[in-house]
């Protein structure tokens, strides 16, 4: 029991000692510490680098308030002209301002992050586009290269064909020199020589191959009039030689039905070749219209060509009232100015006429139709030049008549 009482006394003494310690504190120190703490927090607020750091300072301000609120009276007096509450308020304001700054910074950071993401995605998109562009460029280069290669191949093919044609022509030509050709009847030696040459040099096969290749070349390519002229000359030359030699060869091979059949085949191949050249002409012309976006009905000779164009013009004329004027005029200009007058006529008309594929009458018909089409689109105002002078003359006559009548009115009777 006594022990308990003693321990209670000891605790009381300790409490008293602690109280005395807390009481025995220098006011000056308190004031100085308060100032120092305020400065420290102010420094912390000013030097905070992030929203997290600034949030930590909230605790320090709260601690400052709880620590010094009981000294507020002393501090108010000691801090004169400052006040305890004013200093705390200053800290709060500084804190709020800084917090707002950080909030703004956070918002800006989010915006920057968002913008960065957008920039990144745009960069990725840009990279992808760049890659696509490069691929397209590669394709384009490849295409250009392929196109160039193709043009080269076509040119090589043309040269090779020409050379072989000439070679085969020479072979055929040499097969039966003009002296031999003029002989009404070939001797058996001549015939044997010819047959030997034909067999040794595979002339019949070479002729067939050459003609077929020329036909294929015409089918695969789109040619200009000058190219066609060149091919045509070659074809005509070859055909003429064959026309002279072919019948004699039939005579040579009269006892060999297979060879005769082969020779007939060559005759028909020449016909096909001739037709192919003509077909190529019309096909090339058709392609030129197609490239301009002008749909024409297929044609394979001059009459069909004229009809096809006239049909197109007729259709366009019929459509004038159904489509806008601008569209109708555009169609006219596209056909007449951009295609017929500037491309087809200067390039092909003379070629077609020279080769008797087309007549001047055909051309005139087309031109007449174009004029009618033009007159329907752009009606003439010529009648105005007749009407206006007519009116003027009538007016003048009327005026003269009135003046004459007026003069009669003022005549003095008897004078």
């Amino acid at each position: 029991m006594k022990k308990n009482i003693l321990s209670c006394h000891f605790i009381c003494l300790l409490i008293l000692a602690f109280t005395s310690i807390s009481i025995a504190q220098s006011d000056y120190e308190t004031v100085q510490k308060f100032k120092k703490d305020c400065e420290k927090i102010e420094h912390q607020i000013k030097n905070a680098n992030s929203a997290d750091e600034i949030n930590l300072i909230t605790g320090n301000i709260k601690e400052l308030k709880s620590k010094y609120s009981r000294h507020s009276e002393l501090l108010d007096k000691a801090l004169y002209p400052e006040k305890y509450h004013a200093m705390i308020e200053n800290l709060d304001n500084l804190f709020t301002l800084r917090e707002e700054d950080f909030n703004t910074v956070e918002v800006l950071k989010v915006e920057v992050s968002d913008l960065k993401q957008r920039v990144d995605s745009l960069s990725i998109m840009n990279d992808e586009l760049q890659i696509s562009l490069n691929e397209i460029q590669l394709l384009f280069d490849k295409s250009s290269k392929e196109s160039a290669e193709l043009n080269g191949i076509v040119a090589d093919l043309k040269t090779a064909l020409y050379r072989r044609d000439m070679l085969v022509i020479n072979m055929v030509h040499d097969l039966m020199p003009p002296v031999m050709r003029e002989k009404p009847i070939l001797s058996s030696e001549d015939k044997e020589q010819i047959m030997s040459d034909i067999e040794n040099k595979n002339i019949l096969i070479n002729v067939k191959t050459t003609i077929r290749d020329n036909v294929r070349y015409l089918d695969l390519t789109s040619l200009q009039p000058e190219d066609i002229s060149e091919l045509q000359e070659q074809q005509i030359e070859f055909a003429e030689i064959w026309a002279r030699i072919g019948p004699r060869l039939v005579d040579v091979y009269s006892s060999d039905n297979n060879r005769v059949k082969e020779l007939r085949e060559i005759d028909s191949l020449f016909a096909v070749w001739t037709a192919s050249v003509k077909k190529e002409v019309w096909q090339s012309i058709k392609e030129e219209f197609t490239e301009k976006g002008i749909p024409l009905v297929d044609f394979s000779d001059g009459v069909e060509f004229t009809n096809s164009i006239n049909q197109f013009i007729e259709n366009e004329k019929k459509n004038i009232d159904d489509i806008p004027e601008e569209e109708a005029k555009y169609s006219f200009e596209l056909f007449v100015d951009s295609t017929w007058s500037s491309e087809i006529k200067p390039k092909w008309a003379s070629f077609l006429i020279e080769n008797e594929l087309f007549t001047e009458n055909n051309q005139a018909t087309i031109e007449e139709n174009i004029d009618v089409w033009r007159s329907e689109l752009y009606p003439s105002r010529l009648w105005i030049w007749f009407i206006i002078p007519g009116f003027l003359l009538a007016g003048l006559a009327l005026l003269l008549r009135m003046l004459k009548n007026g003069a009669q009115y003022y005549d003095i009777p008897g004078k």
């Binding site: 005395s20 009481i23 220098s26 006011d27 000056y28 002393l74 000691a78």
Partner: protein
């Protein structure tokens, strides 16, 4: 009798003319002590309360050495009645002064510690000045001495 009354009246007039105007309930107390460094000239300056004096005699009084002020700080507080209390670290006494024309006159020298007061500090209290020092011992001082004795 008339002469006596005249003298009394004249005497009252003279008394009233000679007595100064007095404002009562003046409170001179400083809320908190000032801790003032002694400058190279031996002077102490308090900007807040606009007071300046030479501390040389104080240090001479304490240490019998007028150069002992070097690097020292004087702790100064004024009580409600207008007395100035001064001491410094390791002083044995607290000095109480009263202000007069251009000077501070020692009112009392209160002996506190034979070994010197370590880290003394004055606190303003309602009726007295509290002196505390490093071992947290506190004294209630008036211009007359320690309240309740040592």
């Amino acid at each position: 009798m008339r002469k006596s009354l005249l003298f009394i009246f004249a005497g009252l007039l003279t008394y009233s003319a000679c007595s100064s105007l007095t404002l009562q309930s003046a409170n001179f107390s400083w809320p908190v002590e000032s801790v003032l460094p002694v400058n190279s000239d031996g002077n102490v300056v308090d900007q807040r309360y606009s007071i300046e004096f030479s501390a040389l005699p104080l240090f001479f009084e304490e240490y019998q050495d007028s150069s002992a002020y070097v690097g020292k700080e004087v702790r100064l507080i004024r009580d409600q009645q207008g007395y100035y209390y001064m001491t410094a670290n390791e002083f044995k006494n607290v000095y109480v002064f009263q202000a007069e024309e251009g000077k501070l006159i020692l009112e009392n020298k209160i002996s506190i510690s034979e070994t010197g007061i370590v880290k003394p500090a004055f606190n303003q209290r309602t009726t007295y000045i509290e002196l505390i020092h490093a071992n947290n011992k506190s004294f209630s001082l008036t211009h007359q001495g320690v309240e309740g004795g040592m």
